[in-house]
Amino acid sequence: MDCYTANWNPLGDSAFYRKYELYSMDWDLKEELRDCLVAAAPYGGPIALLRNPWRKEKAASVRPVLDIYSASGMPLASLLWKSGPVVSLGWSAEEELLCVQEDGAVLVYGLHGDFRRHFSMGNEVLQNRVLDARIFHTEFGSGVAILTGAHRFTLSANVGDLKLRRMPEVPGLQSAPSCWTALCQDRVAHILLAVGPDLYLLDHAACSAVTPPGLAPGVSSFLQMAVSFTYRHLALFTDTGYIWMGTASLKEKLCEFNCNIRAPPKWCVYAAHSKERAVVVAWERRLMVVGDAPESIQFVLDEDSYLVPELDGVRIFSRSTHEFLHEVPAASEEIFKIASMAPGALLLEAQKEYEKESQKADEYLREIQELGQLTQAVQQCIEAAGHEHQPDMQKSLLRAASFGKCFLDRFPPDSFVHMCQDLRVLNAVRDYHIGIPLTYSQYKQLTIQVLLDRLVLRRLYPLAIQICEYLRLPEVQGVSRILAHWACYKVQQKDVSDEDVARAINQKLGDTPGVSYSDIAARAYGCGRTELAIKLLEYEPRSGEQVPLLLKMKRSKLALSKAIESGDTDLVFTVLLHLKNELNRGDFFMTLRNQPMALSLYRQFCKHQELETLKDLYNQDDNHQELGSFHIRASYAAEERIEGRVAALQTAADAFYKAKNEFAAKATEDQMRLLRLQRRLEDELGGQFLDLSLHDTVTTLILGGHNKRAEQLARDFRIPDKRLWWLKLTALADLEDWEELEKFSKSKKSPIGYLPFVEICMKQHNKYEAKKYASRVGPEQKVKALLLVGDVAQAADVAIEHRNEAELSLVLSHCTGATDGATADKIQRARAQAQKK
């Protein structure tokens, strides 16, 4: 056990630091690291190397090469640099490579060397050049800060949503500051810079001089500064070899250290997680960890190295190795510290003895239990397992935890299970081939979702899916999302035919919930593969998603039929309006013609909004019937003047003729005649005739006493006799012109019989007149007529005469009271007689 702590180095009394190898790099670098621009992303991210940067002595004709490697040195991409000179490289939080050029342009590349986009840090830079640039991370994303040749700073706190802020001028700044850094406090990005013995803090509004409290005297220049990962702490390295450590707000000093080395260090990096009081300082061949202790820890660097600050430590890589230096976490320290009596240490010991089948196991266990610290012991072992890099050590710690658990009644299994799962995932991604050397703390900070994103970014789809399945993540967040990414990547493979890609995608994805085929299709379209996009859209179940993309791809007709299939009229309408603008009118109408549902929708719209278009639509189709209807509607809705109305009707009639609808045409012509006539009537007789129907016109005439005219009109318009009789009858009765009515009744034989006369007289309560007509009613209705006028007795006589059973009952039902008693008897007798026969 004692050898396990061999690589532990104490820093003061409180902390140990250890350094272990992550990978031996096999990237076979030809050049020294110092000859390259290097950028390594945090959280075990990729490393970018721009070899052969712009050096004066080199021939300009040699193009530099940009290489991207995984953290284990596996090549990911390599490309010839064809743009301008690069000042600085950096990785964004989304693992995009930002290359800041001298002219202020920032080129953004993907992990695989694919060019994404570019943006500029402002026009001012064009003249002044960029002297220096930093890429920094904030809670909003990744920011870029540049220092221009005019010694001005410009920064953007989030490159995803680019807003450039030009920082105020630093008074009296004539040369570049000796060192500077971007700080992020209270959600605002600042710049801290050192000029000689002075420190300045730049924010959007002002430049203020600041002094670190408790700074040792004699400082004439700051050579390096380091900000912790969380922007909480700051370290300053001065030309006297003195290091000041304090809060980033420069309000409080935490500790100081004098290393007595005056050479400017190459690196100055914060390296502690829990206490944030240790700084790693590195020169060419020497690396030093300093903190709140009189002594520092020193390492020798065999090679030219590069330091990557991490959340809980520092990664150090060189041409041959990749190492991690960090403070030993508390749990590990407790367990592994020499002669530790911590419960976790005892438990580990107990388990080892148990495996050796030694009774000491029981002793150790008893000791822990007596102190009542078994739960704590198990927890410690679980926690420590997380911080170990070697699977063997993880296993033995977990085994110890599992052993200890056996003696506990109710120990919640979650923490143990989760740790096992997490470690399995971590070991998988730490693998040499994958090359993401995350520590447990980093992993927890990063979250599994982001880790999955990063695996997807590296196109490690199978591993990502296996992790999702292993962790049983919900499909929508896990497998589906990854498959969708895979599909988006798949459509970019230009060497595979559209059919194959579409089929492959559908086979893999099937109906997995949460997969949007339209997103994949959009990507395919983005790669210029329209046909593939259409094929993919076929798999999209939601038409609402299909249509917009189809429109974008100018497949409007297909979009229209999809929209119609969906039954969503809003969607159809969207397409229609699109088509209307895209096609000329003729083509648009032709398209509509083949889509009745869309046509009717558009017609509905036109009816309210574009009447003229509606007419054109009918014209186009030679739909004379509808055209006729359209003009008829216009004749009473749109036109006011009588001439206009007649003209509209004439057009309608013509249309009806063309539609071979003679009936409608004739009716329309009649209406025209009627309109003209009504107008004449109004002129001659006064009163209101316009807009009355023919029937009402005639009625009005009769009521006005213009019988002649009425009859003329009836003849002109061939009102059927029956109807005319009803009309006249009603009108005259309304007038109570009984004399005229009688005359009328005698003018010829009534085509509607005389019962209506009786009825109408009774309605006006004129029994006298009614009786006159009752006698003339035909035999079939005679009984009814007689009953109407109240002549029950005679009705009975007629009924008996007719020998009609139904009529007899009808009369009988009218026999009420004593007066009709005789009649009733009579009927009964007649009935009896009829039955006898």
Binding site: I632, K660, D691, I719
Partner: protein, 610 residues
């Protein structure tokens, strides 16, 4: 005399939740516009709104004045205007004119448009065309289901009928699908689905898509309602065209029930004021007579009156304590009953007066003859006389349609366009919707009929309309009637007091086709064996059944049936199905796009002068 429910009849789900949901959403929308505001309400939305949130609730949420949306300039002086409208282009133009007038006057106000039940892209486009899209904010009030009664949900969308069946406009189908989706999220999935009609099928499929997109929520829920049946109105126009004779239907035909309430005029209230009365199951008197054939109602009411009198009379022999009890507990109920009773008696009188005047008996007789298919010539001459007398164009149209459908387009009656030129268009509309049916080709057309039929034989019109709905389909009413035994054989008098079948809603002369289809399908739990009927209905492609295998549904829920009428249903159909439910131990729940009747159907098809 009113039929009590069978003791084992299942409990109805509580639909008042729908009201609460709608109210809460409306309040939320109103609160989105903080401060005092004037509310402009579309006339069609006033009654439904009243059922959801009354004026005092609106006032609570800082609605200052209420205006009706009509074509007049608004006099509102408020700084914030809120419009509550149906998504219609007409309304958009109104709002645009208002906003643009303000702009001219240099006035800036806040405008908010709330569309109910949803907004349409076309509306937004009009707003954009009118140049005010940026000035107004748009919202949706997803209020699509109004519980009119314990078992009746209405979407209050009368325009559904014309829009879909005449204009072929499918935009409301999505709304129906949304409404069904809402019901299934609230009351669990429906294990058994049946439907007939093109629209029913489309709505069903859209709804299914919605469920799939959002699955998870309803999965695993116990279904409360075991069956759902979707039915297009054009499957059965006949029933909707008949005069109604059950009390509720008759009240609707006579006084027009609007949004579950009716305005009884002075002739009913026997005072000089009109009275708005809510007609639903809470009205004890009405609840007992609503499903009764009208001939029984009067007798029942007088019996009721006597009972009431007897209860009043009880107080004679009471001592003081009993009297105190009586006054505090019973009197109020009795008074209430008294009031209702006198109202319904008044309504009955008024109906009797009106109906005898128009020879109601003759009319009914003719209708029955048409349904049964005998004495056609007599019926035809009755209709001709009806037209000749020019009593009511709507009535005449209705009878012509009935004749045309029942006689398979063989209408030997004269059509009349002399009602005015717009009715030329009405005829064309009726044809297109399939209410006046085409005569089979090759048959000899009678002189007048040929004139009318030419209105739509035109190829182009045919081609287009053919695609949407049932145009030019032959009505096979006679054959269907025989197949489904719609005309009950009666030996002797049909006793309307003790109905034997659903035919009682039409005096025992006719079982409503729609209800019979539902009955048959429910009995078989599928369309099996009804192939011929479906073919005759021209719905071969649009009859569907969908059952989920796992039967988690309780026997209780399996006896609850949601019937969805697309295009409206009549009170007669509701009464008939209520009767069927009592017979078989089911409970029916009705969801309709609107409650309709023959007059509304005809009016929807009419072209009216603006």
């Amino acid at each position: 005399m009113a039929f009590p429910h069978r003791p084992d009849a299942p409990e109805l789900p509580d639909f008042s939740m729908l009201k609460r949901l709608a109210r809460d959403q409306l309040i939320y929308l109103l609160e989105q516009l903080p401060g005092k505001k004037d509310l402009f309400i579309e006339a069609d939305l006033m009654s439904p709104l009243d059922r959801i949130a009354n004026v005092s609730i609106l006032k609570q949420h800082e609605v200052d004045k209420l205006y009706k949306v009509e074509n007049k300039p608004a006099l509102s002086s408020s700084e914030q205007l809120c419009f509550l409208v149906r998504p219609r282009i007409k309304n958009m133009r109104y709002i645009a004119s208002l906003v643009n007038a303000d702009k001219l006057a240099g006035r800036t106000r806040k405008y908010k448009v709330i569309f109910s039940p949803q907004k349409f892209y076309a509306c937004e486009m009009v707003l954009e065309e009118e140049g005010i899209y940026g000035d107004v904010s748009c919202d949706e009030w997803a209020f699509s289901l109004l519980p009119l009664d314990v078992d009746l949900l209405s979407m209050e969308l009368p325009e559904f009928f014309r829009d879909y069946f005449l204009e072929g406009d499918q935009r409301w189908i999505n709304t129906v699908a949304q409404a069904l989706h809402l019901l299934s999220t609230l009351y669990g999935p429906f294990p058994n689905c049946y439907g007939i009609g093109r629209c029913a099928k489309m709505a069903y499929e859209l709804w299914r898509n919605l469920e799939e997109e959002e699955d998870g929520e309803t999965k695993g829920r116990r279904p409360e309602i075991g069956h759902i049946f979707l039915l297009d109105r054009d499957v059965d126009f006949v029933t909707a065209l008949c005069s109604q004779v059950v009390y509720e239907g008759l009240v609707d035909d006579t006084f027009r029930i609007k949004c579950g309430s009716v305005d009884f005029g002075p002739e009913v209230t026997s005072s000089d004021k009109s009275l708005k009365v809510l007609l639903n199951a809470e009205d004890k008197v009405f609840n007992e007579i609503r499903n009764e054939h009208f001939s029984n109602v009067f007798g029942f009411l007088s019996q009721k009156a006597r009972n009431l009198q007897a209860q009043y009379d009880r107080r004679r022999g009471m001592d003081i304590k009993q009297m105190k009890n009586f006054v505090s507990q019973e009197l109020k109920g009795l008074k209430q009953e008294h009031r209702l009773l006198s109202l319904h008696i008044g309504a009955c009188e008024s109906i009797m007066k009106k109906k005898t005047k128009q020879d109601f008996q003759e009319l009914i007789k003719t209708e029955h003859a048409l349904l049964e298919g005998f004495n056609i010539r007599e019926s035809t001459s009755y209709i001709e006389e009806h037209i000749d007398r020019q009593v009511s164009p709507i009535e005449s149209l209705r009878l012509m349609c009935l004749l045309s459908i029942t006689e398979n387009g063989d209408a030997r009656c004269s059509s009349d366009t002399h009602y005015g030129p717009e009715h030329l268009l009405t005829f064309s509309n009726l044809r297109r919707a399939g209410l006046l049916t085409e005569q089979a080709p090759g048959d000899t057309l009678t002189a007048v009929e040929s004139k009318v039929s030419k209105l739509v034989t035109d190829k182009a019109a045919g081609k287009i309309t053919d695609a949407f709905s049932s145009l030019a389909k032959r009505s096979n009413f006679r054959a269907i009637s025989k197949k489904l035994n719609l005309i009950p054989r009666v030996d002797g008098e049909y006793d309307l007091k003790v109905p034997r079948d659903m035919a009682y809603v039409f005096s025992g002369a006719y079982v409503p086709l729609s209800c019979r289809i539902i009955e048959q399908v429910l009995e078989r739990r599928s369309w099996q064996g009804l192939d011929e009927v479906v073919r005759l209905l021209n719905c071969s492609d649009f009859a569907f059944t969908d059952m989920t295998k796992e039967d988690k549904a309780s026997s209780e829920s399996l006896r609850l049936i949601l019937v969805v009428f697309l295009g409206g249903c009549t009170f007669s159909e509701i009464s008939a199905l209520r009767f069927l439910g009592r017979e078989k131990g089911y409970r029916f729940i009705f969801l309709t796009t609107a409650v309709t009747n023959s007059a509304r159907l005809m009016e929807a098809m009419s072209e009216v002068k603006a």
